[in-house]
């Protein structure tokens, strides 16, 4: 049986196919017509079950069918599957940042998610890297090369951008500014993690987890080791696929799958 998990995010669309284990995964840019993207992706495949997550989940499921699950839950399930001892999940995606606390059995106990603004999300990093004229891939390396410390006080994307502009005009080198921006977003993420009271093991997933500088700063600030899965962007789609696989009573079924002994 093939179960599909589809994560329709603001930046990327991720598909994970499962039979016994992970059979296949695909990552595409979301583009301007996510529905068509998903249609094309699914048209090529045969599958028995589909669960959709991500901010576009309701749009896609009402057009193409399939159950929906929030990204918060799908990330939790995916992370727990990869690391059965995971108790905290940090997921920094395109538009938001979420931190979820899990019980040993994998139940969601609590979560935090940023309100309205994009501060502390992948979007923030993207906007700022543009302002500094580096591509998002090189942004982390640029920051890691900083040789002095400056500060960005504002977490608001709009205000931070004007702070950046004024730092540039004062002749501050872009590596230091890049570092300051990483510091700002890491501070935002860690304050959310602290609010929730993180417990070991902490898994950092989502697209922004590809950013080494950010991972390092979050880990330093929390003074805790964090685990970044090999493909951090697919964790949500993986969770959705697991939920699809487990069927209607997914909560219990998935827990059994991940924690065969601890459950009951």
């Amino acid at each position: 049986m093939i179960s599909l998990g589809l994560d329709v995010g603001s930046r990327t669309i991720v598909l994970v196919a499962m039979d016994e284990g992970i059979a296949d995964s695909v990552i595409l840019e979301t583009g301007v017509n996510p529905l068509r993207r998903c249609q094309e992706l699914l048209a090529e495949r045969s599958y028995q079950k589909l669960v959709i997550t991500g901010y576009g989940r309701h749009l896609v499921s009402s057009a193409l069918g399939g159950e929906t699950v929030s990204e918060i839950r799908s990330y939790a399930v995916g992370a727990k599957y990869l690391y059965p001892d995971c108790c905290t999940v940090i997921d920094v995606g395109g538009q938001d940042c979420k931190v979820t606390l899990l019980s040993a059995e994998g139940e969601m106990l609590k979560f935090e998610m940023n309100d309205r603004c994009a501060a502390g999300s992948g979007k923030f990093l993207e906007v700022m890297s543009k302002t500094l004229e580096v591509d998002i891939g090189g942004f982390s390396d640029l920051a890691l090369g900083a040789s002095r410390v400056v500060h960005i006080n504002s977490l608001c994307t709009v205000f931070a951008e004007s702070e950046v502009v004024s730092l540039i005009s004062r002749g501050v080198e872009s590596s230091a500014i890049a570092m300051a921006l990483h510091e700002a977003i890491a501070a935002r993420i860690t304050s959310m993690v602290r609010r929730i009271g993180a417990r070991d093991r902490v898994v950092f997933a989502g697209g922004a987890a590809l950013n080494k500088c950010l991972c390092r700063l979050v880990s330093e600030k929390l003074d805790i080791e964090i685990t970044v899965p090999p493909e951090p962007q697919i964790v949500g789609a993986l969770g959705a696929a697991l939920i699809a696989k487990a069927g209607a009573h997914f909560q219990n079924a998935v827990i059994e799958e991940t924690k065969p002994r601890a459950f009951k």
Partner: protein, 426 residues
């Protein structure tokens, strides 16, 4: 009444017709999507649909008719302003709506952006001349419940007669005395404005009337304690919202008729949501009409809102004024003492609100609580810290939401609400 009559009336009221048309055209499709699409609604909601469908028509016409006959119309924003006093002077109280995004950008031309949406919305309605209720009213009564409103009223008073009541910040003996004095002065102000003397007899009658409205709403909320719940949270919220500005006697009658139907539904075990739908209590800032955003997201996500611990909810009607009669002074004191019992976050300390939330959570058998905070409302935002602690201690799941009237964050809210429901669903 025909549309042309309405247009003429709006014109006479000095309404900015162009803007007003935009607002009026925006409302029906929203109402259709949010309200009329609901399944198995009680028949008794028909009246409320009608009122909203003609929101700036028939009721305004009524008020204008009264005004032409010499009756004074008094507009209010907050549940601290005692309707009893207004009614006893044969004036008409109308609660103003301040729940529309439409007037927010207009207000932002003057007020700071980081002001709560309720303040901006109400101010924008006056500034933009789009609210026929404000235009019909002879006096706006404000209060000092928060700094933003307090200062907004100063600016508002440049374009409309405004009177501000001072609500104290503590519930000490001294504060109580100040508030009694405030209610008494309010009586004088209203008497002067209307030219009518408030007698003990009239005040006792008005008190009974306002209590009857409270009783009707209590009855409605009581029905919501049943499982399955006979009415959606959205519909119940609408009833509360309409009760702020509709004619008091008619409102009582309509709410009671609705309750008859709901009680029949309960007896038949009929509900609007399956009995395993997560039951949610919303607590926090008020939701003025047409602010239905949070209820709508929750209820389309499969939950049902069973109670609002808010000023468009229990804080409006849970306490009655004792109907013991007595002299005018005694009655005014009883009224003042009832109003200062409202557990608004403007008070410090305000531990009673925490007790209320816990009690309501039990009474309505809720599965989770959503703390609703209008962005930039600092009293409720800070009090949420204590709410969070109190609920954690009792093991009641809580989701804190901070938002405004715009739709920008609907996606994010939906994600948080979906996840919250996944968490509490058994």
């Amino acid at each position: 009444m025909t549309t042309t009559d309405n247009r003429q009336m709006w014109e006479e009221l000095g309404i900015d017709l162009k803007k007003h048309d935009m607002l009026m055209n925006a409302l029906p499709p929203i109402y259709k999507e949010i309200y009329l699409s609901q399944k198995s609604r009680p028949k008794g909601m028909g009246f409320f649909d009608f009122v909203v469908g003609d929101i700036h028509g028939i009721r305004v016409q009524e008020l204008r008719q009264h005004a032409k006959n010499g009756t004074i119309v008094v507009a209010t924003y907050c549940v601290f302003v005692p309707d009893e006093i207004i009614l006893a002077a044969e004036a008409i109280p109308v609660g103003l709506c301040a729940g529309a995004q439409f007037s927010v950008p207009i207000a932002e031309e003057v007020l700071p952006r980081n002001t709560c949406a309720l303040i901006k919305s109400s101010f924008g309605f006056k500034l933009g001349r789009i609210c026929p209720y404000v235009q019909t009213s002879h006096l706006i009564v404000g209060e000092t419940t928060c700094d933003g409103k307090k200062k907004m009223f100063e600016i508002l008073s440049e374009s409309h007669p405004v009177y501000v009541m001072e609500v104290p910040n503590k519930k000490t003996q001294l504060s109580r005395e100040l508030w009694r004095g405030e209610v008494k002065s309010f009586k004088d102000v209203i008497e002067k404005k209307t030219g009518n003397k408030i007698t003990a007899d009239k005040l006792a009658k008005a008190t009974k009337l306002v209590n009857d409205r409270r009783r009707a709403l209590q009855r409605l909320y009581k029905a919501r304690q049943s499982n399955p719940v006979p009415i959606s949270g959205k519909d119940a919220l609408l009833v509360t919202q309409v009760s702020f500005y509709d004619d008091v006697s008619r409102c009582i009658q309509q709410v009671n008729a609705l309750c008859d139907e709901l009680e029949k539904r309960i007896a038949d075990g009929k509900g609007v949501f399956p009995s395993n739908a997560p039951r949610i209590l919303i607590s926090g800032s008020p939701m003025a009409i047409p602010n239905w955003k949070l209820h709508h997201i929750l209820e389309t996500a499969g939950a049902v809102v069973v109670c609002e611990e808010s000023c468009t909810g229990t804080r409006m009607f849970s306490d009655l004024v004792p109907e013991t009669g007595g002299t005018l002074e005694e009655q005014i004191k009883a009224i003042a003492d009832r109003y200062i019992q409202i557990h608004c976050a403007c008070f410090t300390p305000n531990e009673e609100r925490l007790d209320d939330i816990l009690r309501l959570a039990r009474e309505y058998k809720v599965d989770g609580i959503v703390h609703y905070n209008l962005q930039f409302c600092h009293t409720y935002a800070n009090e949420a810290v204590k709410v969070e602690r109190a609920l954690a201690k009792e093991g009641i799941p809580l989701l804190r939401v901070e938002t405004d009237y715009s739709d920008e964050d609907a996606g994010q809210l939906r994600t948080r609400i979906d996840a919250f429901l996944e968490m509490i669903r058994r």
